[in-house]
């Protein structure tokens, strides 16, 4: 076994520097690496570029890093639900690149697959296409235009899984899999925080979502609030 375990968030994130590009897993507040985000706030690293589907809410998720003005640029598909984000964006303090969600996921996936660029029809004829190569491609008998999109390059990918073993194998729970899985494969260095850290051999190899080869460091998170963004329920 190759041991990927580090003691805590502090040790896992110790070489993240100001100005770096980070992928941060999650969809809304679902499956976000809470312990790592808290550690980034503590470290105070600045001018970060964050690739993440969303930007959290005012007082949770990446919203915490916006409050402390540690983020220089956000690359996301949807950034509503956050007043501080809006203020910084409109005042020009924060740079924002909006990317169609499927393109965002695939730019992560392709980084993990080692493929530098790919064609996608999303955004053809819209302002997303500005400055990008457009190619006419025949595929499955249909000719249409595609944008050429690039795989992301990031210094670190920070993901959250449900269970992980000491070799870095990961299992996600329910829809918290979301962007965590493609991002886990995509970081130059991938850091995984998990709710449960188990011995090797305890996870069924058939159930592994992310093989340990993609994970450089793994630690057990000490606290999970797992906040719900939209609590929708019906009465019994």
């Amino acid at each position: 076994m190759i041991n990927k375990v580090v003691k805590n968030a502090e040790e896992a994130l110790k070489d993240i520097k100001s100005g770096m590009t980070l992928m941060v897993g999650g969809f809304g507040l679902c499956g976000i690496p809470e312990n790592s985000i808290a550690q980034l706030v503590k470290m105070g690293v600045k001018n970060l570029t964050c690739i993440s589907n969303n930007a959290g809410v005012d007082d949770f998720g990446l919203g915490l890093l916006l409050q402390t003005k540690q983020i220089k640029k956000m690359i996301s598909s949807y950034v509503g639900e956050n007043d501080e984000f809006e203020r910084q964006m409109l005042s020009g303090e924060l740079e924002v690149e909006l990317v169609p969600q499927g393109t965002l996921a695939t730019r992560c996936m392709m980084a993990g697959y080692g493929i530098p660029f790919f064609p996608t029809p999303a955004g053809v004829g819209t302002e997303v296409a500005i400055g990008k190569e457009v190619r006419s491609i025949t595929f499955r008998g249909e000719t249409k235009e595609y944008l050429i999109e690039k795989a992301f390059e990031s210094d670190f990918a920070i993901v959250k899984a449900w269970k992980g073993d000491k070799a870095g194998n990961l299992i996600y729970r329910s829809t918290a899999r979301n962007f965590n899985m493609p991002m886990a494969m995509a970081g130059k260095i991938t850091i995984a925080e998990v709710e449960e850290l188990v011995e090797v051999g305890e996870l069924n190899p058939d159930h592994i979502h992310t093989p340990g080869i993609f994970v450089n460091r793994i630690f057990k998170g000490t606290q999970y609030e797992k906040r719900i963004e939209q609590r929708t329920v019906k009465k019994k």
Partner: protein, 218 residues
């Protein structure tokens, strides 16, 4: 004139047995409430679910189980979970049979604008651009006339586009329209109590009316 539930109810008639369906936020979400008994469909949510069920009972909500609107939901029997890249794989590869989404404007050639109002806060396109670029069958649920009384069925969209030449059908408070080859909103049905005259007044783009247009049954 149809209210939001009326629009959703009419769109539910377009949902056929065996379809995989993606429902956008807003009126489209309501469509799930009106799918007739005996019609088996699977709802896709682009954050990574096939087989999405209703909201959970109070106390049974799970922070790890949400839909693309970030609402807590449940899974139906036979549901599956996957990652975001896989989710858009099934969208791009046209495995999803029907996409229902809202719009701010639709043009007579099927262009749609629904993600950005310049000068206002821009929240992002989410998955809408991927959906409209690939889906074979897109139905738009929208209000035909804005608060200022202006039509949102236009010769050309004024707002930044989400996708080009992609909308197939539109259901509004006033009627059902099909986008025809070469451009134009062909009126298929009128909402209960709505006259062709009212529809003409509420459509800025090219309106095509052939013969007697029936009133919808919902």
């Amino acid at each position: 004139m149809l209210d939001k539930n009326g629009i959703a109810k009419r769109i539910a008639q377009e949902v056929k047995d065996g379809m995989y369906v993606n429902l956008g936020i807003g009126i489209p979400t309501l469509v799930a409430n009106f799918i007739p008994e005996g019609i088996n469909v699977e709802l896709q949510s682009e954050n990574g679910i096939l087989g999405m069920g209703p909201f959970p009972f109070e106390g049974e909500e799970d922070a790890d189980l949400i839909n693309a609107g970030k609402q807590t939901i449940t899974l139906l029997k036979g549901a599956s979970i996957f990652d975001s890249a896989t989710s858009f794989g099934m969208i791009r590869a046209q495995r999803v049979d029907l996409t229902i989404l809202g719009a701010m404007e639709v043009s007579e050639n099927g262009d749609i604008a629904n993600w950005k109002i310049p000068g206002k806060m821009v929240k992002g396109m989410g998955g809408a651009m991927d959906l409209v670029a690939s889906a074979k069958n897109i139905i738009v649920a929208m209000q035909q006339v804005n608060k200022a009384g202006q039509s949102k069925l236009l010769p050309q969209c004024d707002l930044p586009l989400t996708g080009v030449k992609c909308v197939k059908k539109i259901v509004t408070e006033l009627g059902v329209y099909e986008i025809v080859q070469g451009g134009g909103f062909k009126l298929l049905e009128r909402a209960p109590g709505i006259s062709v005259e009212q529809i003409k007044n509420a459509t800025a783009g090219k309106l095509i009316i052939e013969g007697d247009v029936k009133e919808m049954t919902i």
